[in-house]
Symmetry: C2
Subunit: 256 residues, 2 copies
Amino acid sequence: MKIVIIGSGNVATHLSLALKAAGEEIVQVFSLNLNNAETLAKRIQAEPISNISKINRLADLYIICVKDDAISEIAKEFNDIDGLVVHTSGSTDIKVLSSELKHVGVFYPLQTFSKTKDVDFANIPVCIEATDAKQLDILKNIAHKLSSRVYTIDSEQRRVLHLAAVFACNFTNHMYAMANQILLNNNIDFDIIKPLITETADKILNDLPENVQTGPAVRNDDNTINKHLNMLADLPKLQEIYITLSNSIKLSHKIV
Amino acid sequence: MKIVIIGSGNVATHLSLALKAAGEEIVQVFSLNLNNAETLAKRIQAEPISNISKINRLADLYIICVKDDAISEIAKEFNDIDGLVVHTSGSTDIKVLSSELKHVGVFYPLQTFSKTKDVDFANIPVCIEATDAKQLDILKNIAHKLSSRVYTIDSEQRRVLHLAAVFACNFTNHMYAMANQILLNNNIDFDIIKPLITETADKILNDLPENVQTGPAVRNDDNTINKHLNMLADLPKLQEIYITLSNSIKLSHKIV
């Protein structure tokens, strides 16, 4: 299976490394920024290109890992190609891939990627979609080489997953960042709170988050809540978030 | 060391089990609800009591694990006792323990506890405080039997830690709950998102959360943000939270 990777960001990097480790041949890495293409291409023994006209026309699979709003534009470059063209976006409909493309699909790894942190693909849910059964089988085979969790998910369900992921991951990480800001302001090292973060994530592996909610809001402990709001007087944005989320917890638990 | 546990909730339960496992003798468990006292006392071979007048007056250590606003009231019951009386609250000043008590302190395990989930105390930061060095040593010795992470923290710093913990744990768990709500509404199993939650928590063990933020807000991807807001039209509370947090992420990353 000859693969071309379009993009050189977090998803492109981790997916390329996983595909390479699984024995796939990545023939090219395309990025408008040649330096970025070279950096990634070097790690997977591929050819770096920054000119789209130099794309190998005979690859089996083209994986588009670019910003959501650039997918449709870049996909048009593959209109005359026989290979399967997929995007990797959670929030983008398969239909964004031009109807002139012969074979299209989606290969969405439901995970958060940062270049500085290795990930083990084996445990990452890979959500695949294709417009016909043969292409779906191709994606299924590749996905199974990377991960034990392969799901066939249509575009609508995938959008829902991506929205849920924003809460479960992006907003969660922002909570960690706000905790760090509070600690920093008081010269306390972020390290002390890490076991709490790990345990909070571990708890929901065997129970629903609604069942293991702790803290002043779910106890309806307004005395503590008010103390905290006073402490946040100099951080009005965090104060607003504290109020919004405490009220939301109370509402979810039918306390108010 | 003879210990009396005041309370039978999550903290009382996990702390008692850890102390027992470390070889300490827990002589009594007090709870206004005798059933709850009995349930916990049975697990640690202690005497259950629900009448405060039956408290053993000769114990070495009394650990108060009750709701924050009940601490001062219950602490008064120990005014004539020689043993060390501590509370376990993150947000409560040591001064709430009556000045008539002979020896006072704080023993605050910085962790989230649920009765249904075992915890390994060895990794939990235990924050201790006492009004004199001798009592601090007593607490230090006990804390070290439970955990390798023992911190001497004054009441003001402890309040800050507790506030940060609300963001890092309570609000984070609420994010998981909202993700689950979105998935449930669309008949998608929460399981699919668990690897993402685990990885999000793992990422900050070796990097600051500000450095590993992902998602549409930090990419300033308003197209995706607007799609998500449309999807949340039937969940206006979640929509409000989505807007508040996305704006906060943008602001933190100087995007707006």
